[in-house]
Symmetry: D2
Subunit: 260 residues, 4 copies
C-alpha cells in the first residue's frame, strides 16, 4: 500500500539533449510532488507498424544515453528488451527490463530477462486475459527472479482499438506482484492511422484517474515536451507541461484509495 511510482519519459530515445532535458524536468516535478520516479525511453522500437518508421538509436548508443540519465540525475532507468542477447547487454545499464506486450509469451526472452536478476516489467499482451499472466509470471520465477512488475496496457477490442478492463488490475494483483497502469499505450488505436498507430491523448487523464481509483502500484506514461514533432507515439503521449496537474490529482486519489 505504498504510494504509486511514476515510470515516464519519451517513447523513443531521440536527440540526447532532448532526452536529458525531459528527464530533468520530470525529475523536478516528481520531487516537488514526492513521487518516486523511474526514467523510461526505448533505444529500439522493434515492431513499429511500418518499416519506414523511426526505430531509435539502437542498443549501444541508446544505453549510453540512458547511462547519462542515471549518472546525471540519479534516476533508475527502464527500457524494452526484444531478444535474449539484448537482455544480457542491457542488464549492464538498465534497472528495470521491460518485456514488450507482443513478446509477453516468448519463453526464452522471459527466462533470459529473469536470469539477469534485474527487475522485470512485463507488459500484458493485447491478446491475453488477466489470469493468463500467471503463466508468464511462472516463466520468470523459474529463474529464481521474483522482482516482477505487471503492466496493463489494454486488450484487443475489435479492430484498431484497445479497451482497458479495469478488472485486470485487481486480478493481476492476485499474483502478489506490483501492478502498473500504462496510461498512454492504453489510448492507442493500433494501426489506426494506416501506416502508424493513432491515439486519443485526450483520454489519458480519465484513464489514469480511473486506474489510480481502482488501485495500482505504478503509473507508466510516455511524456514529451513537443508531442506534435515526436518520432514515435506523438498522438498519445502526454505533453510535459500537462504532467504536473495530472499527477497532483492522481496522487490525491491514490492516498484516499490506500488509506485505511
Amino acid at each position: 500500500n505504498r504510494p504509486f511510482v511514476l515510470i515516464a519519459g519519451p517513447c523513443v530515445i531521440e536527440e540526447e539533449d532532448r532526452v536529458l532535458r525531459i528527464a530533468e524536468k520530470i525529475k523536478a516535478i516528481t520531487e516537488r510532488l514526492g513521487i518516486p520516479y523511474v526514467f523510461k525511453s526505448s533505444y529500439d522500437k522493434a515492431n513499429r507498424s511500418s518499416i519506414e518508421s523511426f526505430r531509435g538509436p539502437g542498443l549501444e548508443s541508446g544505453l549510453e544515453i540512458l547511462k547519462k540519465v542515471k549518472d546525471e540525475f540519479g534516476l533508475p532507468v527502464i527500457s524494452d528488451v526484444h531478444t535474449v542477447e539484448q537482455a544480457k547487454s542491457a542488464a549492464e545499464v538498465l534497472d528495470i527490463m521491460q518485456i514488450p506486450a507482443f513478446l509477453s509469451r516468448q519463453t526464452d526472452l522471459l527466462v533470459a530477462a529473469g536470469e539477469t536478476d534485474k527487475v522485470i516489467n512485463v507488459k500484458k499482451g493485447q491478446f491475453l486475459a488477466p489470469w493468463d499472466i500467471d503463466q508468464v509470471v511462472a516463466k520468470i520465477e523459474s529463474t529464481g527472479n521474483e522482482k516482477i512488475l505487471l503492466t496493463e496496457r489494454g486488450v484487443s477490442f475489435g479492430y484498431n482499438n484497445l479497451v482497458v478492463d479495469m478488472r485486470s488490475l485487481p486480478r493481476m494483483k492476485k499474483t502478489g506482484y506490483p501492478v502498473v497502469f500504462d496510461a498512454t499505450h492504453s489510448v492507442q488505436l493500433p494501426g489506426g492511422a494506416g501506416d502508424s498507430s493513432a491515439g486519443e491523448r485526450e483520454y489519458v487523464p480519465y484513464l489514469t484517474r480511473a486506474a489510480v481509483g481502482a488501485g495500482i502500484d505504478a503509473i507508466f506514461m510516455e511524456v514529451h515536451d513537443e508531442p506534435e514533432v515526436a518520432l514515435c507515439d506523438g498522438p498519445n503521449m502526454v505533453p510535459l507541461d500537462e504532467l504536473e496537474e495530472l499527477l497532483i490529482k492522481a496522487k490525491a486519489i491514490d492516498e484516499i484509495v490506500k488509506e485505511n
Copy 2:
C-alpha cells in the same frame, strides 16, 4: 461539477417489507454521507435469461410499493419501462424512467418515455459505441424533453462477458447530459451461469472507484440485504452492509476529481 448522486436498491421488487427496509437503510447511510439518493427497484424483469426466472410483482403492485417508498421516505424513485403503455402508467409514480439497455434503440419507447416529461435514464446498449448514444439522445430530445441521464453498464466483450470502457464516460458527457455508472450490471457475466447471468461482485468497489476517478454524475448500484437469497442478480449485487464503506471512498475521490 456537483457531487455524485446515488441510484440504488434491490434489483427487483421482492416482499414489501424488505423493500422498505432496504430503502430506509440506504437513506440513512446517504444522509450520513450527504449523498443525494434515488431509490431503484424493478417491478418487472422483462428479459431474464430464463423463462423460469422470477420477474417481479408486475406493474400495478410494483408501482404501489414504489409509491410507499416515496411517501414514507420522501425519496425519488426510478424503475424500468419496457413498452409504450408502461411508460404512460409508470409516469404517475416514477420520478425517473429507465430505458433498459437491450431496448435503448427502440424509437417508440424512447419517444413515449420522453413524452411523459419525466427524467429519462437510458442504459447504453451492450451493442452500442459511446458515440452511438448521440442518436439515442436525439430521439428523446425530439419530444422536447431534455431531462436525460446516460448510463454506462458495460459493452459486449466476447461471449458471456462485458467490459467497461472508461473512455465512454467522458465521451457520453460530450452530449451535455449527466453520466451515470452502473457498477453492478457492469460486473455481470451475461448468461454466464447457463440459465441465468453470473456476476463478479468482488470487482464492484474497483470499478466504482475507477468510474468516480474518471468523473461521473451518478453511481447506479443494486444493493440487497441478503444477496445470497435475492431473486435476481444475487451474484453481482452489493451487500447492504458493505455499502457505506464503498461510498465513503467514492465520495472522497469524487471531491478530488471535481475540485479546481
Copy 3:
C-alpha cells in the same frame, strides 16, 4: 439435410409496385434454381439509428402489401414483430414471425409470438453467445410452439462492427431447429455512418458461401433492385441483378455439404 430455403426481399416495404416487382423477380429466379422461397420485408423499422430515418408504412398498410405478395405470387411471407400486440395482428397475414435481434431476450414478445402458433424466426442478439439461444428457444417452447428458426446475423465486435462466428451455426443447430444465416445484416457496420449504419455489401458473397459451406438450412438476404436509392440498409443489400449468380454457387456448395 434438405436444400436451403431463401428468405429474401427489400429491407423495408417501400412503394407497393416496387415490392411486388421485387417479389416477382426473386420468385422467378428461385423457381429457375429450384430453391424454396419466402418473401421478406418489414412494415416498420422500430429501432433505426436515427429518429429521422424512414420507418416503413406501418403495420396495417404493410400487412396489406404483404398479403398481396402472398395472393399474387403464392409466396409465404415473413416480417418483424416488435410488440405483443403486433404479434397478434400480424399473425393474420404472416407465415413466419421474426423476432428482431435487439428484442431476442424479451420474454413477453417471444411468448406472444409463440402463442400465435406461427413459425418463429429469432434473430440471435448481437450481445448473445451461440449457447444463449437455448434459453430463448425454451421461452418459445413454453407456449407449446416448436416451429422455430434461429438466425445468425453477427455478434458485437468492438465498436460499430460485427463479426460472424461460423461456429455459431453448428452450435445453434444442436437445439434441433433449423439455422438461418443472415448474409446482409452480417456485413452491417452498426451506427458506422454516424446517423445510420454503414455496410460492406462486397463481403456478402464471401460470407454466404462460407455459411453454406459450414452448413445451414436457410439464407436470409435483403435484396433491392436499386440499393443506392433504398430507404433502408442500402449499403448492405444485394442488388437484384447479382442474386442469381450468388445463389447458383451457394446451391452447388450446399449440395456438396449435404450429400453423404
Copy 4:
C-alpha cells in the same frame, strides 16, 4: 484460381518415427485426391502457455528430421522461425518459413526471413486487423522478396477465445498474395485450460468448409495420428483418420468456388 494446397502435419516434431509415418500417410491421402501438399511441423514451440510444456527437439535435431521428410518423401517443408539467427539456419532446410502470429510485427524477424529469399508464411497476429497485414507485407517486400503467404488464424475475441472473421480472407487477398486458412489454431481457446490452451476440434470441419467456401489458396491444418497423446495442441488437432473425408468435401467446394 488454382486448387488449394494443403499445409499439414503434427504441431510439434515428436519422435522421428511418428513424424515420418504421419508425413507418409498424409502424402498418400493428398496424392489420391490430387492436392499439392507441404509438410508442417515445429522444431521449437517458443511461446507455450506454460514453462513446463514440451517445446520440441530444438533447431538442429528438428531440421534433421524435416530434412528426412524432404528426402524420403519429396515433400516441401515449413516450420516456424522465431529469431533472426534461426531464420538464417533454417533456410538451409525449409522451403517455407513461417512467422508466428505473436511475432508478426517484429520488423527484424520479417526482414531476416525475407532476406533468405524463401517463401514466407506470415500468420496474422491475433491483435491485427485484416488491413494491418499491408504493413507486414511491406516489411517483407522491403527485402525484395515477394514470395509471401498470409494466414488467417483467428482474432482475439474477449478472453481465451478467438473468432475467425471470414471477411479477412478476401481483404488479405487484396494484397495480391495467396491467403491460407489455419483451421486448427482457429479453434484454439488460448490459455483456456489454465496452463495450456484448450481447443474445439469438433468445429474444424465447419470452419474449413466455410473458409474454402469464402475462397482460399491453402488450408493449414495440424494433424496427428493420436491427438489424445500429442505433446502439443492435442485438443484442436485433426485425427489423421478423419483427414481424407474432410479434404474430399473441401476439394469439391473449392472447385465450385473457383470455376467460372
